[in-house]
């Protein structure tokens, strides 16, 4: 290409011309959210370095101890260091969140593009998607995890399957609305092939809403993992996740609330941040809301 677009223009490419309003001021909320999330991600990455103890090593003599110099936040029912577990838990929880978001967006995007553009496939695909939507996701997740064994991947798959129809619908609705746009019709008139139109004209339009959707999937996946753990269908307690730390600690809710409090706090902060960033992105990317806000 003759001219390389400047960075701002690259962003423009992703979000479309309507997306980035001029003179937009970022409130404090999203900045704090980004900072918190950044810290959590860093903690997750460097978990082995900042954990004073192995998060899986038990010490029967140190069960349910309060905070001390050795155990920053105390210990759990197996005498494992709570602080190290919460920090390490960030890894798995984030992995599940990001993994579920990534997989469902990827699969949903493919199916949605096809469905949005090919009438015949659409009828069949949407029936199947409607059916998947109709199955209550938490029950499906419990069933899938209980039946396949509670590994991280079965949790991710269990969360992903109910999310896919939502992504498909989103992508499809974008495709359906954009395919009537004059520039797409112009591309047809210019003799562009269907796959090319699909991928080059339509697909980029789905990215912005998909990013927003991905943040919600990520947040809800982390929450769902916690709920699955609570119901006894989560990841093995040997691998700490915020969900199963809480699930293990829940019977001590009154005696030793810190077992729920700290992972719960981290989880809520994390999801709060992701949701806030998602909301900010949505407010930025949604031209309808923008119109009103000038």
């Amino acid at each position: 290409m003759a001219a390389t677009p400047e960075p701002a223009a690259r962003l423009q490419w992703l979000f479309g011309a309507v997306a980035l309003p001029r003179g937009w001021r970022m409130g404090a909320g999203p900045i704090i959210a980004a900072a918190v999330l950044g810290l959590i991600v860093l903690a997750a990455i460097f978990a082995p370095l900042i954990s004073p103890h192995d998060p899986m090593t038990m010490d029967a003599l140190q069960r349910l101890k309060g905070p001390s110099d050795t155990y920053l936040l105390g210990t759990d029912a197996y005498g494992r260091d709570l602080y190290s577990r919460v920090v390490t838990g960030a890894r798995v929880s984030l992995f599940i969140g990001i993994g579920a978001a990534f997989v469902s967006v990827l699969i949903g995007l493919m199916i949605g593009l096809v469905s949005g553009f090919f009438r015949l496939a659409d009828a069949v695909i949407m029936r199947i998607m409607d059916s998947l939507m109709a199955i209550p996701s938490i029950l499906l997740a419990i069933a899938l995890v209980a039946l396949n064994g509670p590994s991280i991947w079965s949790v991710i798959i269990a969360i992903t399957i109910p999310e896919i129809p939502r992504v498909v619908r989103l992508v499809r609705s974008v495709v359906l609305s954009v395919r009537e746009e004059p520039y797409v019709e112009a591309a047809i008139a210019l003799g562009s092939s269907m796959p090319k139109i699909l991928w080059q004209h339509l697909m980029p339009n789905t990215l912005a809403p998909l990013i927003v959707q991905a943040t919600y999937i990520c947040a809800s996946a982390i929450l769902t993992e916690a709920i699955l753990s609570f119901l006894g269908a989560g990841v093995s307690t040997e691998i700490p996740t915020w969900g199963n730390i809480m699930a293990e600690g829940r019977i001590y809710f009154q005696l030793k609330p810190s077992l729920i409090f700290w992972p719960g706090l981290m989880l809520s902060l994390c999801i709060l941040s992701i949701n806030l960033l998602g909301d900010t992105a949505r407010d930025l990317l949604d031209p309808r809301l923008k119109k009103r806000e000038g």
């Binding site: 899986m56 029967a60 029912a77 209980a146 006894g232 269908a233 040997e238």
Partner: protein, 540 residues
């Protein structure tokens, strides 16, 4: 604050009274039981350790179904707290050659439908039980005939003596021979019964039964208790309340809060860690129901490497420490006991031979050495960990850590209990859906004799999960059956103990007790491994 709370309590008391009034009125209108003074209706609400789902106590060994069995059924013979068989529904005589047992039903036995209990009912029930219970099978292996000679007399003739017959028929766990009407008991032993007519002290209220949630028992007004004080499952079962409701609470803390606030009367099992919540209350008593409690155990798969090698089994056993397991599982030393006896400490056959490493904190170094000698090739050990059963989550985790320290390559796989139960039945290779090691808990009365302990079966594929082929244990068991004096039995039992530790048929990991908690309003509850609701009164 305190004052406010008091006021609030009073307020609450008032409203609750009002609500009870409304409810009572509704009940009156609904059932037409206007004559009975409802203020005197005594109901015990009890939170049991698990939800009742299988109503046939013969088809399953689930403890909750057995407990249910003791509520609505009665047994011919029952073992008392001294492990002595005592007459319950029937008295007996034994012929001099020890081959013929004659049982005579006592008077006044009636099923809930009003029909008298006959010898034919008992025979059908015993026969169905014999198809399910392993001890029962052993007896029927040597049975010549079992007949009802008249309405009250049952004659059981053996081909060879079976000294433990009464102990087996009178055992408390896991499958006691409950007596059902013949029409019910003559059905298949593989299909659960659907007619819940018993002759026991309580009547099952079918309309109010919610599987897994709650079950209601009404007092059997026609039940005639045996003379004498109750002792375990023997003695007089006198019912002093009108209704007993068992409810399940999936959340342990909810149950405790409910007991503290007086919404329920009784919790069958309290997690030791939560005891501090109850200790502060003056309205609640925490106590142990019996001193035997549970034995927690590990079982290996003899069919697949590495545990098909006796030395490696020994190495694994050597690495484990009962203290570590119990401390993690239970925490409070008051409620657990390091015990190397496979038949359980506090039982007649208890013997701790060969359990030194287990009871003294494990010997990681020794295990390492043994492992090296055995030429362990780093085959992964697939260790199954149930995530949804509180009393089984700690053992695998502790064991995995110890085994790893000893040099094992441990692959701990988490699953829910159902998956574990399914998977342990699989004889496939561990890499193909099989397994190497799992843990479970037994009530001590379920394993306190070589006759009933499922782990001591050495018949290969016909043995319990793990499938050891061990002729020696089979010989020892045969010897035990023949032993006709307690001394002889004890002697054989100690050899069985030694052999078990040597061949590592299973690893006893110690004993623990689950205390119960009850409202101080409940009085007269007897000590027994099985929670019973006869003899209990509720005083307001």
């Amino acid at each position: 604050m305190l004052r406010i709370r008091e006021t609030l309590n009073q307020f609450r008391g008032h409203t609750r009274g009002a609500v009870t009034g409304i409810m009572a009125a509704a009940l009156l209108a609904g059932t037409g039981m206007a004559t009975q003074a409802l203020a005197q209706e005594k109901t015990i609400t009890a939170v049991m350790h698990s939800g009742l789902r299988v109503l046939d106590p013969i088809i399953t060994t689930a403890h909750i179904s057995r407990n249910h069995g003791y509520m609505i059924y009665d047994v011919l013979v029952a073992v008392d707290e001294n492990f002595e068989p005592q007459p319950q529904m029937a008295d007996w005589t034994i012929s001099d050659d020890n081959l013929t047992y004659t049982f005579t039903l006592r008077d006044g036995l009636k099923f809930h439908d009003g029909e008298p209990v006959t010898a034919a009912d008992a025979v059908a029930s015993l026969q169905r039980w014999g198809k399910r219970d392993s001890g029962g099978q052993l007896i029927f292996d040597v049975t010549e005939s079992l007949e009802a000679t008249d309405d009250k007399t049952i004659v059981w003739t053996l081909k060879e003596p079976f000294p433990a017959l009464l102990d087996t028929v009178g055992k408390q766990s896991a499958l006691p021979p409950f007596i059902m009407p013949e029409r019910v008991a003559s059905g298949s032993a593989d299909e659960a019964v659907t007619d819940y007519t018993g002759s026991g002290p309580f009547i099952f209220v079918e309309e109010e039964y919610q599987p897994g949630v709650s079950v209601t028992y009404r007092k059997n007004e026609d039940y005639v208790p045996r003379e004498g004080a109750p002792s375990w499952m023997a003695g007089g079962k006198e019912v002093k309340v009108d209704t007993v409701r068992w409810v399940t609470m999936p959340d342990a803390q909810t149950a405790i809060n409910a007991l503290l606030s007086g919404e329920i009367d009784y919790i069958e099992q309290v997690q030791i860690d939560l005891l501090p919540l109850l200790e502060a209350s003056e309205d609640v008593v925490v106590e142990t129901r019996d001193d035997l409690g549970y034995q927690t155990i590990g079982r290996m798969n003899f069919k697949h490497p590495p545990f098909d090698n006796q030395k490696i089994r020994q190495a694994a056993q050597m690495a484990l420490s009962q203290e570590d397991v119990l401390a993690t599982l239970i925490g409070n030393p008051q409620y657990y006991k390091v015990c190397g006896a496979i038949f359980g400490c506090g039982t007649p056959l208890a013997d701790e031979t060969g359990s030194e490493t287990l009871t003294s904190g494990g010997d990681i170094e020794g295990a390492k050495k043994l492992l090296e000698e055995a030429g362990y090739d780093n085959t992964p050990v697939v260790l199954m960990q149930p995530t949804d059963v509180v009393s089984l989550t700690a053992q695998p985790v502790v064991a995995a850590q110890a085994l790893r320290q000893a040099g094992f390559n441990v692959d701990m796989q988490a699953m829910d209990w159902q998956t574990l139960v399914t998977r342990r039945a699989s004889q496939a290779k561990p890499s193909e859906g099989g397994w190497n090691l799992f843990f479970t808990n037994w009530m001590v009365p379920e394993i306190n004799s070589p006759l009933i302990s499922p782990m001591l079966n050495g018949r290969g594929d016909d043995a319990w999960f793990g499938w050891p082929e061990d002729q020696k244990i089979e010989d020892l068991r045969a010897e035990f059956i023949k032993a006709d004096t307690p001394e002889k039995q004890k002697e054989v039992a100690s050899r069985i103990q030694a052999h078990n530790m040597e061949n590592v048929l299973y690893i006893p990991l110690g004993q623990y007790i689950m205390p119960q908690a009850r409202s101080t309003k409940l009085t007269g509850m007897i000590a027994s491994p099985v929670p019973v609701f006869w003899n209990v009164d509720k005083v307001e």
